[in-house]
């Protein structure tokens, strides 16, 4: 019980500290901007640890962060193997294929109004297909290895990316388009010099959404059949074995990889769409 109260106290204290920092004079310093979420995360971990210990939660329900950390350290080689299988082979290749194909398709859709009016409504429909239904089908079609995972990822990221890119390509203002017309510019110059640059913020929106989708898709698809490695395989097998520490270690890998993936895309966005109002200041 003491530990539980300690947890609550810690939570309040850290929250006050964060409020202080966030409203303090150095709030805009880079270091503080990193520190505040870090404190928040560490507080969650500490509270979690204290609660698990204080309430005697069985390990097979929820392991303490310290246990997860230990497992993470001990099982590094396995985690690395799973990461390669799921993230590098499954998620990344699916992401590249899916986003690339959607991008090209978006340019076509943007060019031919007929396609736009026909494909987008149907696309919305297809985008609502839950992975739970598509994954078994795709595993059946593309086999147990990473190819089927990549296929699941392609299906998941294709339409968010398509819709965003199409929206972006239409994002130009009438005046920007008129300017091109005053130059008598044809399709290609106005695509490369106007519509594509103007679409970039939207393209990145799609790319960012797709990062988390890709990872989730690749992991979940492994639940429906896989070789004996991969993050999804390990998670589901470990749940069955009640090795919850391993489960959480994989989840940590997923969260780290996902956040890093998101972060990298966000950084690319920052440097390529520096001109957009949302990126200034």
């Amino acid at each position: 019980m003491i530990l539980v109260f300690l947890a609550l106290g810690l939570w309040v204290a850290m929250w006050l500290l964060n409020t202080r920092l966030a409203n303090g004079p150095y709030a805009n310093k880079r270091s503080v901007r990193m520190l505040v979420p870090a404190i928040f995360g560490l507080t969650i971990l500490a509270v979690w640890e204290l609660l698990v210990r204080g309430l005697n939660v069985p390990m097979v329900i929820l392991p303490a962060p310290s246990q997860v950390a230990a497992t993470f350290w001990d099982e590094m080689p396995t985690l690395w193997l799973d990461f390669q299988q799921t993230f590098i082979k499954g998620a990344l290749s699916g992401y590249i294929i899916g986003c690339g194909a959607a991008f090209l398709m978006a340019i076509l859709v943007d060019r031919y109004d007929f396609l736009k009016r026909g494909l987008l409504p149907v696309g919305n429909f297809v985008a609502a297909l839950p992975i739970v239904g598509t994954a078994p089908i795709l595993v059946m079609w593309f086999g147990f290895d990473w190819q089927s995972k990549a296929a699941v990822v392609v299906v998941m990221v294709f339409f968010p990316m398509l819709v965003n890119t199409v929206a972006g390509l239409q994002e130009t203002t009438a005046m920007q388009r008129d300017l091109m017309r005053t130059y008598g510019a044809g399709y290609w110059p106005s695509l490369t010099k106007l519509r594509l640059p103007a679409a970039m913020p939207f393209v990145f929106n799609g790319l960012k959404i797709s990062t988390t989708l890709a990872l989730i898709g690749a992991i979940v698809a492994e639940f429906f059949g896989s070789p004996t490695m991969g993050m999804g395989f390990r998670i589901s097998t470990s749940v069955g074995q009640l090795a919850l520490d391993m489960v959480w270690a994989e989840i940590v890998v997923a969260a780290l990889a996902g956040s890093a993936f998101y972060g990298i895309v966000a950084m690319a966005e920052k440097s390529l769409t520096f001109w957009h109002p949302s990126q200034r200041k």
């Binding site: 901007r33 396609l115 026909g118 609502a128 739970v132 239904g133 989730i216 999804g232 989840i251 969260a255």
Partner: protein, 304 residues
Amino acid sequence: MGKWLPVLTVILAIFAGWYATVPFMNIKETLSALERAGAVVTPDSPIERRDAPSFALVVKNSFAVPATYAQDRPRLPAPHQVALDLWQTTVEKKITSKRSLVYHGWITLSATLLGFVIGTGGGILLAVGIVHSRAMDMSVMPWAIASQTIPILAIAPMIIVVLNSVGIQGLVPKAIISAYLSFFPVVVGMVKGLRAPDAMQLDLLKTYHATQAQVFWKLRLPASMPYLFASLKIGVAAALVGAIVAELPAGGARGLGGRMLTGSYYGQMVQIWSALVLAAVLAAVLVLLIGLAQRMTLKRMGLT
């Protein structure tokens, strides 16, 4: 008319492509079945067929093409097979029957709606907090992003077990998982929306010395409406996926997720496809309804 022509064309093209693909997807099993029934197929060894390209098999055994459209366990069911199954499980069954897709659809829909309400409610509250508290803004947002990188299907069973152990069962655990998926798009959209008023619009209220609450109700909230609806549309689709995902481990195997699972469990591909199609229809209808609400609200607000 002009609006539907392109959609119909695309749908037609999809169906045509679909029909054209079916023989290639199903040829191997079809040939094995025909061979068992006494037909002569080339090549006559299943192992050779396994390693042969489907295209060659279709060409060499063109007589088998019609049979590929009538498989019991097709790798790819033909559209009419799915349509027939849909007809049988929706129209021809009493909607209270456990074999009726309407019944299962309703189970999923109820979890979706509850989850959607919880998710959007939570998402909006979180967004309000983020917009009004710098501390929350700085600490919560990165973790909200990280939370979405956690594979939900992996923790869904655990959530269900944990909730189960505190006595919560049935609709609520499913709704919570569904809420987990739908809250994120709402948070992101609403944070953007609540921050949509520009400095001048905010300054105007400052000159009136308006309270925080007045700023929220008279400026931030109305200004966020377009964003809200956009994220609601994404959120409701996510909620549906969440509800379906939650049905896998929830036991009982009711709902569209249950149908997909049992379909997969017994190799009933047609059943999976029917459930998939219904799920997509459901999502489309929900999105449509939100679009309708959006148009009405924005019209009343004079924003369209």
